[in-house]
């Protein structure tokens, strides 16, 4: 193995970190350079993550010691199948969102493009760092890098954004504190911060009160970070008022990364047997998650703002994934991990579509979308595909995760969860068909007898449209080939004991 191959894991985060500091310097000299520089940085990151994922596929998990310091003293990057899947997901979606952001930024945030690109890369670094690191404290650092840059990015949005961002700051910081306390407690009793090391030491200490408290603190902290009902209150405002490209990035990825951390700690740091049997965590989580699904859907029904509707659907989707994790069996966890991937793609696609509509028309009210299928046929085509996927219509990818979640709920012998999952599909059908009806169907006066209303095509710019279409095609392909993803990645993620 040569030198270059060895160091790809660190390239995933270090290049973008470096570039996020370079961009202000270059931007001060020439503003136009920011966009290509950011794209180069994330492309390198994507390339590295693909190589890393490829190696994980063929040679198993990779351990990378930062600065050559061996764990448990040094910081370790540990990339197994779950991390590899997540890192490819994070980098590829970030790249697509970044490509699409140019026009939206010019329109929504003129003169602020330098800080935007810099913060964007910083946020990306945080997200990518979270999914590659194998160290509890290092994870906290990356979590805060991601959160702080997210606060800043949200705050430069619309008029009400600073207030929303402030609420996010308060709650997010509380979440981070809980997480940090939990790491501290674990460090007190074990003297270690390395995840693999903790996994070895902890089983002897499972009955220690400190460990139990640490675990509980962790769950609360991460529940705030991933906006699990009833700790979701910061999310709708923050994501609605953020600038379009920002919400397209954080909406699909931020919460998903939170759920990733939860899976990682529940099943990789602690033993699955601990997380399931010592405390009634999974029972509580699964019921909270089912309530989250219902509440998220019902609140979404009450929205007339398309973007705000999507944010409430996010709350439901988080519930969906957490339910899969909390049912704790092979099928359910497979469904949950698959849904992380699928939902990230669907949400990114939907938020980008909202960005495209905002860019062209400046409206988000779903009752003002009339004639949109003639103005923006491609965008609306992609919207229809994403919407059908959200409802769980095969062969779009949303169906396949739903399928596994239903199998998992049947395995768990809990018919109420089966009903909740099926209900959420119907709710999504109402939500999205309401939009589709408004966008596609013209009032009868437009064609019967009355004058034909001429609406000329006015499609979004290519830099926005192409990422949207790539994602729409991706939704279908991901669905058809979901079996491949499961056999290549997800089957290794599920703990053996399931």
């Amino acid at each position: 193995m040569n030198f270059y191959q060895v160091h790809f894991p660190i390239l995933i985060v270090s290049v973008t970190l470096l570039f996020s500091f370079l961009i202000p310097v270059f931007g001060w000299w020439k503003k136009k350079l920011c966009y290509p520089l950011a794209i180069i940085a994330i492309s390198i990151s994507l390339f590295s993550s693909l190589i890393v994922a490829n190696r994980v596929l063929y040679h198993g998990p990779i351990r990378y010691y930062l600065g050559g310091w061996e764990p448990p003293w040094g910081i370790e990057f540990y990339i197994d199948h779950l991390n590899a899947l997540m890192v490819v997901l994070v980098t590829s979606i970030s790249l697509l969102v970044l490509i699409s952001s140019k026009k939206s930024i010019e329109k929504e945030l003129p003169d602020k493009d330098v800080p935007f690109y810099s913060l964007f890369l910083l946020l990306f670094t945080g997200l990518a760092g979270i999914v590659v690191t194998g160290d509890m404290f290092n994870l906290y650092v990356f979590l805060e890098i991601a959160s702080l840059s997210a606060y800043a990015l949200i705050a430069i949005g619309e008029e009400r954004a600073p207030y929303a961002a402030f609420r996010y700051v308060v709650l997010g910081t509380i979440g981070a504190c809980f997480y940090l306390l939990s790491v501290g407690y674990l460090y007190i009793v074990t003297g270690s911060l390395n995840m693999a090391d903790l996994n070895q030491i902890l089983p002897n200490l499972y009955h220690s009160k400190v460990v139990l408290v640490a675990f509980s603190f962790f769950m609360i902290g991460i529940a705030i970070k991933m906006a699990l009902f009833p700790l979701h209150v910061w999310l709708p405002d923050a994501y609605t008022y953020a600038p379009s490209p920002v919400s397209s990035l954080i909406a699909p990825l931020m919460t998903k990364v939170g759920i990733y951390v939860m899976i990682k700690i529940m099943f990789k740091v602690f033993e699955p047997s601990f997380s399931i049997e010592m405390l009634p965590v999974t029972t509580i989580l699964s019921w909270v998650a089912s309530i989250a699904i219902i509440v998220g859907c019902v609140l979404a029904l009450a929205q007339v703002d398309l973007k705000r509707m999507l944010t409430y659907i996010m709350v439901a989707e988080v519930g969906y994934i957490v339910l899969g994790v909390a049912m704790a069996n092979r099928n359910a966890l497979t469904g949950a991990v698959l849904h992380i991937v699928n939902d990230a793609l669907m949400m990114a696609c939907l938020f980008l579509i909202v960005a495209a509509i905002m860019f062209k028309l400046g409206i988000r009210n779903i009752y003002e979308l009339r004639f949109l299928h003639r103005k923006m046929p491609f965008t609306m085509g992609a919207f229809t595909i994403a919407a059908l996927s959200m409802m769980g219509v095969p062969p779009a990818c949303g169906f396949f995760s739903k399928w596994y979640l239903i199998l998992g709920a049947i395995d768990a012998n809990n018919w109420i969860f089966v009903a909740v999952i099926l209900m959420s599909g119907l709710f999504n059908a109402i939500l999205f068909f309401r939009v589709i009806e408004n966008a596609y169907f013209e009032p009868a006066y437009a064609h019967d007898g009355g004058e034909h209303i001429e609406v000329s095509r006015d499609e979004a710019p290519l830099s926005l449209l192409i990422p949207i279409l790539i994602m729409a095609v991706g939704i279908i392909l991901l669905g058809i080939f979901s079996g491949k993803i499961i056999s290549a990645f997800i089957q290794f993620i599920v703990p053996v004991s399931f």
Partner: protein, 496 residues
């Protein structure tokens, strides 16, 4: 049984989806090219489907696996004789409907024709996909594609009523789909397999009561599309759609897919023996009989021609389900051929209703006095269809009803024989007044002059009516419907 690997089923399904893309590309500006794609796709699809008939008649099965989904389940096509009946029916009638809808849509100068033809092609993709699927998951996939692609067709007029009807349709069907998904999940949990097996594969996997529950959820799910009373409401409401769509709904793809799936569940998932042991066949037969009689009584009361036809469809769908529920060989054979024959007869009736609407803008039966003199070809075809649905030779409805009657005698259930006969009487009671008034009644003794709709509309009508007659005289003509039904029955009942 010999299994052949071939890509043909995939091509047969995808050809219309591909055509859909070409239709979108052509758009309203190149309408002739757009219609060319529709016709070409329907002909190509039909020939691909027909090219598979010889293998099926030799008792072989054609298989094609697209991709593995989860352990023991793939997206897979598996063409057997029963699936072939439905595939041939759908693809053959698509040609007729395509030609007809060009005449119809242009005749009425309808809007959004591109969307109409696109969704139509997609619906056929779903319909033939349902027919050729090899397991429940694949079937569900195409079933959903079919449901969703029909939605814009029903809402086509975009009036508040049309949108309401489309919403109602979606509500019923998506709720049904949730039931189906649950049932499929449970089946997979119990058996670890979803592949159709002639004669069923569920036996001995769990307690009888759980199986009964599973059967009920399956039938509620697929029954929502097969419009079993009391979950039939969407179908008459959906009559607001343009006539080619109603024809598609009733004769070609949508509700036929519903009964097709019901039969798949009855015969290929549960199997006759298991259903007999569970005692569910009798309950289903009573539910179906109730639907048969009540639907026909509703039909008597309708003045709107298409609504009357809609209730007649509900009646016939339940006759098909009744046949399968009786579980005797002749009854199953009868219900399978009735899927095909009813398709040809019902499409004739709907296309006639459409032709009358295109020409005279009349929708109500009470306005149609004397119209037979004006449109003799159309109403002649209508008469043939009506005779056929009543079960009078020489129209093919007689053949299927004959087998159904034999089947109910074979099953020792004379009460269902009486149900079938009463329903035939009621059929006569609501069809023949239309025919009589059209030819022999007139306003003020003046008969209108000969004035037919355009030939694009009339030719398909005459063609399907002719086929309906030919199928009675030669039940195996062209497509070997009866032979294929016999092969299926043999596979299911094991050589009886």
């Amino acid at each position: 049984m010999e299994v052949i690997q071939s890509i043909r089923p995939l091509l047969a399904v995808l050809v219309s989806a591909f055509a859909g893309c070409l239709i979108l590309l052509a758009g309203e500006k190149n309408r002739n090219i757009r219609e060319f794609w529709t016709i070409l796709a329907s002909v190509v699809k039909f020939s691909i489907v027909c090219s598979m008939i010889p293998f099926i008649l030799e008792g072989k099965i054609i298989e094609y696996t697209i991709v593995n989904v989860c352990q023991g389940v793939s997206l897979q096509f598996r063409v057997d004789a029963f699936g072939m009946i439905f595939a041939v029916l759908a693809s053959a009638l698509w040609i007729a409907v395509s030609i007809y809808s060009i005449g119809y849509m242009r005749g009425l100068k309808e809007h959004a024709q591109t969307r109409f033809f696109f969704c139509f092609a997609l619906a056929l993709c779903g319909g033939v996909g349902v027919a050729l699927s090899g397991n429940l998951l694949t079937l569900y996939m195409f079933y959903e594609i079919l449901s969703v692609s029909t939605y814009p067709l029903i809402a086509h007029k975009e009036t508040p009523e049309a949108i309401k009807a489309a919403r109602k349709y979606l509500t019923y069907l998506l709720t049904g789909a949730a039931f189906i998904l649950f049932s499929i999940g449970l089946t997979y949990y119990l058996t670890g397999s979803l592949d159709f097996v002639a004669g069923g594969f569920l036996e001995g996997h769990c307690s009888a009561n759980l199986l009964r529950l599973l059967f009920v959820t399956f039938i509620i799910g697929f029954g929502s599309k097969a419009a079993i009373i009391p979950i039939h409401e969407w179908l008459p409401t959906a009559m607001i759609a343009p006539t080619p769509v109603s024809a598609l709904l009733h004769a070609v793809a949508v509700v036929k897919a519903g009964v097709f799936c019901c039969l798949r569940v009855i015969l290929y998932v549960f199997g006759p023996e298991l259903l007999f042991d569970l005692g569910m066949w009798l309950i289903l037969a009573y539910v179906a009989s109730f639907t048969i009689i009540v639907a026909n009584m509703f039909a008597l009361a309708q003045d709107h021609l298409k609504r009357r036809l809609a209730f007649s469809t509900i009646n016939n769908l339940s006759i098909i389900i009744l046949g399968a529920a009786l579980l005797s060989s002749d009854a199953i054979r009868g219900s399978m051929v009735h899927i095909a024959y009813h398709g040809f007869m019902k499409i004739t009736l709907f296309l006639c209703a459409g032709a009358i609407y295109v020409k005279t803008h009349k929708e109500y039966i009470s306005e149609m006095d004397g119209i037979g003199r004006q449109m003799p070809f159309t109403l002649g075809a209508f008469t043939i269809g009506a005779l056929g649905l009543t079960g009078i030779p020489p129209v093919c409805g007689f053949i299927s009803k004959w087998y159904l009657c034999l089947g109910s005698i074979e099953a020792d259930q004379l009460i269902f024989l009486i149900v079938i006969l009463i329903s035939a009487l009621l059929d006569a009671a609501y069809f023949f007044p239309i025919v009589y008034n059209a030819f022999f009644k007139s306003k003020n003794g003046v008969y209108p002059k000969f004035d037919e709709a355009s030939s694009l509309v009339v030719v398909p009508i005459v063609a399907t009516a002719t086929f309906s007659v030919i199928f009675c005289i030669f039940p195996n003509a062209f497509f070997y419907f009866l032979d294929m039904a016999s092969i299926s029955v043999q596979n299911i009942l094991g050589g009886v």
